[in-house]
């Protein structure tokens, strides 16, 4: 069954920002999807992120989500999804 889609915000930081060439974008994604599907959707729109895809994590509305999590996530219009390359604060 085809799931309805919503438009969400994408934020890029550090190396992902440089690869994409911008800080922000929007993307249409299914309302219900697994974290792995979220990664796939983002990489399909921004294939330039492929070389670092094993070394990014994602935050949904400022909370980390695990790529291997098997519980589906539920997106709503305007959600904020951030691409988080390896951290180097401190």
């Amino acid at each position: 069954m085809e799931s309805a889609e919503v438009e969400v915000r994408l934020l890029f930081f550090a190396k992902s920002r440089e690869l994409v060439g911008r800080k922000e974008d929007t993307i249409k994604l299914p309302i219900h999807l697994l974290p792995a599907g979220l990664w796939e959707g983002i990489l399909a729109k921004h294939p330039c992120l492929q070389p670092i895809s094993d070394n990014i994590t994602i935050a949904l509305n400022q909370e980390y989500i695990a790529r291997e999590e098997t519980e589906p996530i539920v997106l709503k219009e305007g959600d904020e999804i951030a691409i988080i390359p390896p951290l180097s604060g401190g």
């Binding site: 550090a14 390896p86 951290l87 604060g89």
Partner: protein, 155 residues
């Protein structure tokens, strides 16, 4: 008492005296302060500056989570975690953590925990800019999805 915690991301030069004053209180017999400072070398390359960026609202939220974790583990009085972003020249502090406690053991352990956890969970990044014009995004060894950690899992 989370009201005693100060967390901030700022483009301004960090003032260690000011941040130390934030956590002093009459009942505390100890204040532990950690400064992370910019090194002038990486392997054989000369580092001329570091550029930091943060996902500011999430970074501040993660820093507040660290304060809660510290208070679950240790009996401390006040906590301040301040991280600088933008260009940080060599020898300047990029981060200052200050914790006060009645006796020193708690604040020393809490600060150690705090800097290690900050490196693994707070969304902040630094790029080293070298004397030859090249640059490199750094990766903390404490970060689970850094290349050195994901490579070791797959081999």
């Amino acid at each position: 008492m989370s009201g005693e915690d100060v967390v901030a991301i700022t483009p301004d030069k960090l003032n260690v005296e000011e941040i130390t004053e934030m956590v002093k209180c009459p009942q505390a017999g100890a204040v532990t302060v950690f400064l992370g400072t910019t090194r002038d070398n990486f392997e054989d390359k000369k580092v001329i500056k570091l550029e930091y960026e943060a996902y500011v609202p999430m970074a501040e939220a993660e820093m507040r989570k660290l304060c809660h974790q510290i208070r679950e583990k240790w009996n401390v009085e006040k906590i301040a975690i301040i991280h600088r972003i933008g260009i940080v020249p060599v020898m300047d502090a990029s981060v200052i953590i200050a914790v006060s406690s009645v006796h020193r053991k708690e604040s020393v352990e809490a600060v150690h925990y705090c800097i290690d956890s900050l490196k693994s969970s707070v969304p902040i990044w630094k790029k080293e800019v070298y004397g030859d014009g090249s640059c490199n995004w750094k990766e903390n060894k404490e970060c689970d999805w850094a290349a050195r950690n994901t490579d070791s899992q797959s081999s």
